[in-house]
Amino acid sequence: MSKARLMQGNEACAEGAIAAGVRFFAGYPITPSTEVAETMAKLLPRVGGKFVQMEDEIASMGAILGASLAGMKAMDATSGPGFSLKQELIGYAACAEIPCVLVDVQRVGPSTGQPTAPSQGDVMQARWGTHGDHPMIALAPWSVRETYDATVMAVNYAERFRTPVILLMDEIVGHLREKVELPEPADLDIYPRRQPKKTRAEGYEPYAPDEDLVPNVADFGQGYHIHVTGLIHDDTGFPVGSPKVTEESIRRLHEKIDRVGEEIIHTEEYFMDDAEYAVVAFGGTARTAYEAVAEARAKGQKVGLLRLMTVWPFATAAIKRLAAKVKGIMVAELNYGQLVGEVERAVAGQCEVQLCRKYNMQSFEPQEIAAGIDELVK
């Protein structure tokens, strides 16, 4: 019997989270992400997990951080305005190294914007929304099935690197319904919660980095009497006003993710073998770009597609390789122009960079991207 199911992106996100071991979800209703919370409210208690609808966006972010510190894998989901409200605690999670996944199903902004309309306008907020220097991992799936996989990956990265991970969805994928066949949970690789490797008597320090530069912070209730703070702290976890410790700890936060580099930067190439031009896109827009590129190929245009599944850390090396190969790159994104800046920085003048943008509540039509391609190859 086929296990195929008709499923929405937001539902796949919730199911992926549970498969990855998430047992705590706190959220606040906001379109177009609400189905993630609704699905979690229904499914989590069936596996002994807990869902709580908090009083506001900030509270739900705080609650998942508390739950994570107490040993449960935890997730929250939101959209633009809520994403803005959570920024302080995203930084808290980065500084205090608390594993968590935050889903942002992007909608049109700024402000309340256009609540149910698609956008990809949170690219830079995902990277730089919280204050101060911090690393960021953001994944942007382009299909319902990939939303499931990307959520599992997001939970695994959060646990492995003890860092907040943003699942940067958009309304197109969040509300898309597709026939999917999900993997058996037993077939998934799940990263378990990191555990202390020393006892207190052996001189355990909760923020002492392991070989991979990630600390094995004990969960509350394990008897370690740890201290967790959003102040810059040393390996003991206690705040220190030292320039040396401050520099070292901010550097380590970056290096623990920078050092794995390409391993977490997932990209896909289509029609790239003999391509002389390339379209770069992510998320729901990449679906339209794929169709436009396929049509361009049918017309004889030598164009390919580079799809970024990992938006942050940015695929600088992949873009550099692309720029060395093609005559021109067009970035298609559903905003006024955000990712294009990063692409230009990576291209560094090696080839032409063009922007195909849209910010009027509607997703791209293939012919709009096709028109951009015509311009690019001219």
Binding site: K50, E55, A59, L69, A70, F220, H225, H227, V228
Partner: protein, 274 residues
């Protein structure tokens, strides 16, 4: 002289950063004495605090401790309690942290009746930032941001907690230290949201601005103006004027706490034992 409660402090983190004469140390000590009195396990008790003078207490206390973001201690604590209901979760907060930036979390924590014990160190001012008015600064009192006297009507945090659904609400002061210990200890017995307001003196910011005199004089002010709840109830209204205020247990009720209620949800959903 070894004091029995010293084991609850991280000796290597002391002395604390509070000003000489500050009342926060008395309230912090009252919490560990209440923990000792009720025999709560050090390994199984988590101290969660917000931001501000009060909230630095967590760093000195030898438990699993969490110094959160400004105003957010109660949401973090809610997550901890739901994730591991076996933990005793104590929240330390201040008047600004709890009733201004964290006001929404405070009332909703009360409403859900999450099994937390919240101790508010009320010094009536923002101390850490140098003495700005808080939502609990009394009318007419001075602060750096209320140089002509505050015109903002203050919250009575205890009345707010009762109205919002807390199931144990009490107040005491740094002067009435043993009473404060009892109020906190009895709060631990309540399986639900327990709120204890601990009035503490801030000689540096509030006291100086309002010419309250020495820390000892501020403690004497508490002695002279606090009225035990039983006596307060018998006072005629005209005697409840001025600076007099009641202390003691104001409210207690039995209601299902949030984690117990959620266990029933798991049962209904078929997830028990998973």
């Amino acid at each position: 002289m070894e004091r029995s409660y010293e084991k609850y402090f991280r000796q290597n983190r002391l002395p604390h950063l509070w000003c000489p004469g500050c009342g926060n140390g008395i309230a912090m000590k009252a919490i560990v004495q209440a923990i000792e009195k009720k025999g709560l396990s050090q390994d199984n008790t988590v101290i969660v605090s917000g931001i501000g003078c009060s909230s630095r207490a967590s760093g000195y206390m030898d438990f699993d401790t969490l110094h959160t973001a400004h105003g957010r201690a109660i949401p973090f604590a809610t997550g901890i309690k739901l994730a591991n209901p076996d933990l005793n979760v104590v929240v330390i907060t201040g008047d600004g942290d709890c009733t201004a930036i964290g006001g929404n979390h405070f009332i909703h924590g009360c409403r859900r009746n999450v099994d937390l014990t919240v101790v508010l160190f009320n010094n009536k001012i923002y101390g850490m930032t140098g003495g700005q008015a808080s939502p609990m600064t009394p009318l007419g009192k001075k602060a750096t941001t209320a140089p002509y006297g505050s015109i903002d009507r203050p919250f009575d945090a205890c009345k707010l907690a009762i109205a919002a659904g807390a199931t144990y609400v009490a107040r005491s002061t740094a002067y009435h230290e043993q009473h404060l210990v009892d109020m906190i200890a009895n709060g631990f017995d309540n399986k639900g949201f327990s709120f204890i307001e601990a009035l503490v003196q801030c000689p540096t910011a509030y006291g100086r601005k309002n010419k309250m005199g020495s820390p000892a004089n501020m403690l004497k002010w508490m002695r002279d103006n606090a009225v035990m709840q039983a006596a307060w109830e018998k006072l005629p209204d005209d005697k409840k004027q001025g600076e007099k205020f009641p202390i003691g247990l104001f409210y207690s009720a039995t209601a299902t706490d949030y984690t117990t209620a959620y266990d029933a949800v798991i049962e209904r959903a078929g997830g028990a034992g998973k």
